[in-house]
Symmetry: T
Subunit: 148 residues, 12 copies
């Protein structure tokens, strides 16, 4: 099983961004934790970060065909990245959307995700642990489907 | 550590409701799974379900004082249960909001949660596993806070 | 054939409420007229009224499984009772929504029914006779389906 | 007692239009059923159909003075036919608005009727039987008024 | 003269809720102060609190007929309790709406009261004293009417 | 100088429509008064009424080329008659829009005229005299332009 | 018969303002023309202009009691002068609202008049002649009422 | 203790304005009643009325520094007087907003107060007695603060 | 293969209407060009124009059954002709919507087409050539389907 | 070169108003700094402040004819002062709008300026230095135009 | 004559994306067909695809100066690519916007194109043939202009 | 002191873009003028332009840590570049937003800046001089802070 973990704009700055909102773990630390857990679950994990929507779309186009699921934190693209939305829909893979902070208790414009309608589900506001839960559930869901 | 798990209107019908949206597990099965996991995590779990907003508010008022956190699936009250919202805010406890189906890929009116702005975070669309993840993360987060 | 007739908040006050809007018949008189007509049509009729949305949801959950159709006047819950809407949808029964007064010629906020999208149809503004028509048409429609 | 039954645009195509929405009865069959029932009720029934709003307005202007009530299915004019609305209001007759399909469970723009605010009441989504019920209730209501 | 004082959801928690918003007096203390002032004014006072809209509607239905006026703090139902609104309108009694905090300087959704349009008047943001003023003015207004 | 006076849907019923809104003069009486005044002003007046937008558009297409100005009361088409709006714009003639009743103190939907943006001006709420004033000013304005 | 003619902000600059919109006549010239016509009609005319809403309100308060009607061009206050609206409503006099330019073919925000709903009628876009027509119709309407 | 009582546009006409809405007391009578009550409470009261927003702003600027609280009925400025709002906010004094009529049961545009968000609280629809209650509560609140 | 070409209100005035928007070709010239191209493509072409929505609906009802596709320029009915929309949907034929001018760079209200959602596609702003392209593509698409 | 510097409501309180928003300089200090800089630039500067929109309009009407440009901080009138907007547009002078605080990071209603569309440009949030920059750029722009 | 054909995000996946919406032709096949047709028409065609808005803007900046027209399918950037819109407007070239699927019969957010207002015209929903038609009409239109 | 000057999409085309809106200076000329002025002020200036949001975000991430302030003209990203907004907020540096043209007198969609709420202030519509003023004020403001 192969799962893509995609981080959108400014997530490479985790640990330096407002810690009250985003916690103190860096992106490297989160990716490391994810890979450790993926190892336990016998999942191949590919991580990617970019600040540009075009590069994120390129990545999904290239990797989706050889993968089984996607975990994505689209950063601010959550709210306007319709090209990213389309490539996720085109991939036909199950997508779990993760937000470190609770986007529903922040500015009004952060309450709407253009990604959500093409996602299997969403985890918001539960910090770096949201990624781990996304991985565990996505892997379990994919296993369950395979078995059927 | 004591955590309340609250199920709103119609969640007692899980297993009988549209299975494509809500899965085939009954509420009893979910509560049992949650309690098993709570046992592992050394958490005391109190579960409650009601179809009436008043009874849900009563329950939170009575139990919040002796508890450390709340996991809630407010059912349709998600979208208009402002009394429920107020009692959760009054409780001053960390709240994790769980939705079995992805409320953001269903009818427009299901996209807005009046609960979300007073919650620590939200898990939506990840089925019964969303409850388990909510429990694990809530317990971990509470432990982390205590240690500090 | 078994049909539920459900009356929402304040409908127990019919006959005492503004008679220009709601007519002079009491709820008992309407229920009696409905039962007489049901007798003619060989329909078993179960009537219920409550001022609380929770109790209405409880009733539908308990009775829907043994019934063939629902006639409901949701009272003011018409406009915000999303839990009631969900239980009606979950019942998978044909639902006829009845309003004694014409909700479309009253205040703007009465023009939107959250129930309507899960109903087979709606009768509004035709007084107590609207219930009788609802019963006749629901029974005829159910008979027609059975015959096919 | 004389009642006008008015059918708006495209209702002459009943039986050929989408049968899931509109049923399989033709307009002739509905008019025949209405006239049979009108005979029972000692009501003179005048039916009319046009695809043009102007012709519908002309008809109401000419016939309203010699009639006691109006049953109208305005077709798509329901949503923008303000001239039709005005002539119905000017007629000062009781109007019952009938829709074969449930306009409240279809496209958003079909949820608003410009006719409803000048109607006595509305029956929506109950198929051809909605016309019969409209006739029965309109006749009964008119008789009741006369008696007083 | 008999006046009902009705407290909606979560008001039984006064004194424990956010004191900056709601002050430090408990509901018992407020009811006691109201009863003392009612004694001075020769008014019979009946107080009631519930977290459920159904129970509040039941109470108004049962008590309105033997009473002369209503003072109500609808809590969060202020913003969506249309069944409560209808029973207050049906009562035909003068209603004074009281809010301890200033609902117009809080969240946007608290700025709209569905109760206000059926109330004689409203006092908002003046703390527990708002209840006393409501009682004094309601009693004086009722006396004035009687005298005429 | 040749001026068209165009009356939209239901204006042929003037004198019979609600007299508080529309006055007691019939359309014939208004047309006669207009023609008398036109005689004084040496203006050739052509009047037309139809309940159908198509016929109104036909009339403008046929007559505009031989005319110098248009006075129009579009009736309810004021609010949705975009085809009528386009033909008036295409005519390139000065248009004065007349409403017998004050459309700005009636229902919200009557406050918007789709015609107004292609008109020279508008007279609303001044009864049949509004037509006379429209004629006088249109004639004077046309004379003034000619002189220049 | 005594009629007030009130000019709002910036109307004292007529003749200097954009002549394509407002024509080339000065306010003095318009007032002179109005007084001449008033003489013909045996009407006493009092004219007033101010750039301040307060002064306009003061004027109406002082003069309304001794007058029979009001002609007002509220200038930009048309769109937000609610105090001016209230004093006109309080005056209980028939009010004719005049706009020299067609407010409905200009910026969107000029399409809404807060004055219109308390006016008898409105003349818009017909230049200085709109004032004369307003005077003639207001005088005629007042005479007609008196005669009855 | 010194309290300003400020009356906005058209409130000098109380007693002459629509008595059903505003009661029959004149502004002088209300001011006299307020001063009598202020005497009881050992409060120095300064009253002011103007129809112009500028004059009201000037007054608050000049008087706020020597005062302890403000009671204001902003009249129609309630809905658009943002300069008045700013000066009240700048004053840093507790402000009680009073409306004689219930602004929430009148026209839609009267439901929004630009003043409310900078006020301590609001009394609406309780007639002249609302002023007295405002004075009593403002004085009591100020005394309470001082004591602390 | 038989294709209907339908022109809505005011399109008979092409060549006389604003040439910057609509070009200098008359409707006859466009129909002639279309028929020539249809001849090349072995398509039977039936053209129709009317200024009345009713007549357009009549035409589609009568002709759709014997035709394979529809090209329509609905004129201003594009924006409100819901009866026309319904008959096009009922026809179950592929519909290509053509606009000579670019409706998306004109007034805001021209940006929304009620026809578009029932059309196969739309060509806008490409002048008379848009019709030719519509014909070529519709014929090719129909041929392709037949072949399968 | 002569430039008007106009300060709207409450700007005479600078230095006393919330210093975090508006800084600690008084209006006199700002005017003095502006005049010093104007001296350097050989510009005649006329400053004016009023709390009343009428007085601001009067000032622009009187001074615009003898001036070359306007710098204005409209205070709260920024958001509703349409009379002020009209007089600025009528002046045909280049206008620079200055706001001491950043109106786009404050309350939603402060984000819209009715003045901006008639201004050359706007400086917001840069404190008292915004005025100096406005003066320098306005003078330079005017000089540049003259030279051409 | 030189024409740019620009394909936005995800269009490089044509043939693999949902074939019901986008057809089965690959981008290469479409480009090849376009080039063949361009050869016939003696047009030099330059094609470009990118998933990043920045690269698309770069391309237009570099190529527009040496080209005569642009055909663009902006993909999801249609709905938010304002930088792309600006560079197309800056190019001052005629632009034809092409969409393979009918954007007006899909999700609500796909109904609005930020590109359309700067385009000559738009072809939507006519599959790969829409590109060919765009090329033919653009070439013909450019030739026509040159000849004049 | 080190200040970043960032130019968004299409600003590299200054001098070639519509000169009425954007003036005739090229970006190089503006950067040169800024650097000259920076030299006077003893400020190190780093300039950057890109048409891609990703590259702009990368630049801010890399440079913000070694800089003291940011001047940015976000081009069309002003209206949707939420990733750019987030990186500017994350930088915690004072940001001055500059627009050459007056975005508030252009298309409606240009009136909203997603950047403004995280900026210190904004200069709009004052041409290339706006950049110079931004530099002068930003430098002065930074110096002032340092001194404290």
């Amino acid at each position: 099983m192969r799962i893509l973990v995609i981080h959108g704009p400014n997530l490479n700055m985790l640990g330096k961004r407002d810690r009250k909102l985003y916690g103190s773990k860096t992106l490297d630390q989160i990716n490391t934790a994810l890979k450790a857990r993926a190892g336990d679950l016998d999942v191949e994990l590919v991580t990617f970060q970019s600040n540009g929507e075009g590069a994120l779309v390129d990545f999904v186009q290239q990797e989706a065909g050889k993968s089984d699921g996607i975990i994505i934190n689209p950063g601010a693209l959550t709210h306007y990245g319709l090209s990213l939305r389309d490539v996720l829909a085109d991939s036909a893979l199950p997508v779990v959307e993760v937000h470190i902070s609770n986007i529903y208790s922040r500015e009004e414009w952060r309450h709407h995700s253009v990604i959500a309608s093409v996602a299997l589900g969403q985890i918001s506001g539960l910090g770096w642990r949201g990624y781990i839960a996304a991985l565990e559930i996505l892997a379990a869901t994919l296993r369950e489907k395979t078995r059927k």
